[in-house]
Amino acid sequence: MNIEMDKSENQELIVLVSRLKKENEQLRIRVKELEEKLNNKQNSLLNSNTNSKLKESTLQKTETFDKAPPIYKDLTLAEYMLYGRQLILSDFGKSGQLKLKNTSILIVGAGGLGAPAAIYLAAAGVGKLGIVDYDKVERSNLHRQIIHNELREGISKAQSAKMTIEELNSLCNCVAYEILLESSNALEIVQKYDIVIDATDNVATRYLLNDACVLSGKPLISGGALRMDGQLTVYNYKRGPCYRCLFPKPPPPESILNCADGGILGVVTGVIGCLQALQAIKIATENDESPNNLLIFSATSYPLFRSIKLRSKKKDCALCGDHPSITRLEDYVQFCGSGATDKSPSVKALGHEDRIEPKIYHNLRNKTPHVLIDVRETVQYDICSLPNSINIPLKDLPDRIGEVKNLLETPNTPVYVICRLGNDSQHAVNILKTHLKSELKEVKDIIGGLHKWSIEVDQEFPIY
């Protein structure tokens, strides 16, 4: 079986290498074309006498870090052709296109929300697009983060997004920031842009971005998505509230679900990300008359959208109120009690003596009579499960203790608990120990859950 697997893995690698080689070759050709184009452009610019144009070209070349970006007063011939279908809209027109060209937008997060937002904004002709993401592309991102692709697995999300954007619209000046946005760098970056899109995945970064936007006077277009639901709000815009006006205190860390644990339908992030792009275009083109509102989307409700009227900016807001107490960026990880990423932290609820390695469990699995309880949600259990395991979701466990009791042949029958990653299984062991103290001789959780089982014992077992 192992030889067969090695073979198929080999085959996969061969295909991947050949695809990457092909892309590399195409990119080399493209680089050559672009370099020629650049040379021609620079020559023609040198020949022209207008000082302003010279200035623009130098600015573009050195990335506009400290100097003000150029202000374009007209479209190029190529742009008329590229944007013709939106130029003829009476609500947009040439003035709208020019405003977009002169607008810089920062997208924080090149994930499920940032991907469609960046694609549409670049395609629509936004002059400068900054993309911040510290993370790398993973296979499990691709169902929703459609700016990346299979070939980009393992490379920086910010760079991958930039590559897609440059292929889509070479006129867009895209800047990739391969960093984790923090108190030490946020203001410096935010200040360089006109509009900020919050496409992040964690509470700490949401407060950080909110504060950076209020302190530097930028509108913040905030999107969030989880499971089948999405939300959209604009903060710090036209006397509207900031994030802190609505949520002065952060939520308790245990109330926060991330996409890895809660799940997310790809197109739900797509809907919200597209709406963020639309909102950015409306603000950039000064075409936004809507009052302060919160838009709620639910794929499973009817109607799909609800728009809720929000309070105005609060006079006593600690950040944007009349007498602010927050005047500079803080430590947001400490403030929120949760990290600046959406990675699930590993739980350590049990001592070594209450846990068992997957390999050791594997060895005793067919020899020792025991009970194996899988505490994942049933929807996950139905994806894949170990033969002879019994599914009792963690939240139902306290009510179903009787069932566990009935499963024990003798008081000596050991009970093992498994889940997806080895976090919930630890809580489950504690619940079982509390309720079945005298009846149970041995109850242990399987370290690292089915994920580790798949890596160390049975590589044919799916990882999801």
Partner: protein, 103 residues
Amino acid sequence: MSLLKIKLSFSGGIELLFDNIKQKSVEISSSINSPNPTTMKDLISWMKDNLLKERPELFVSGDTVRPGILVLINDSDWELEGELEYEIKDGDDIVFISTLHGG
């Protein structure tokens, strides 16, 4: 004392605390805290006692909802309606929404 029929909705994950039900019509006394008319504060405490299925700390904090939950009354931010002091009326549509942080 009469009964008020109101619609409660849960969104953004709050429904998980209420048996995974997204919408529910309930009838509550017009004067839970007699003789005073029923307010949002009374409703939240009534919900905690009568509807909440698990982990009350993820819904309430003191006599209000926990940080990170936004309450909407008839499609308006409850801050515009008087928050905890708002007097519930027959037919009110009240939404409890948790902010989503995923992306």
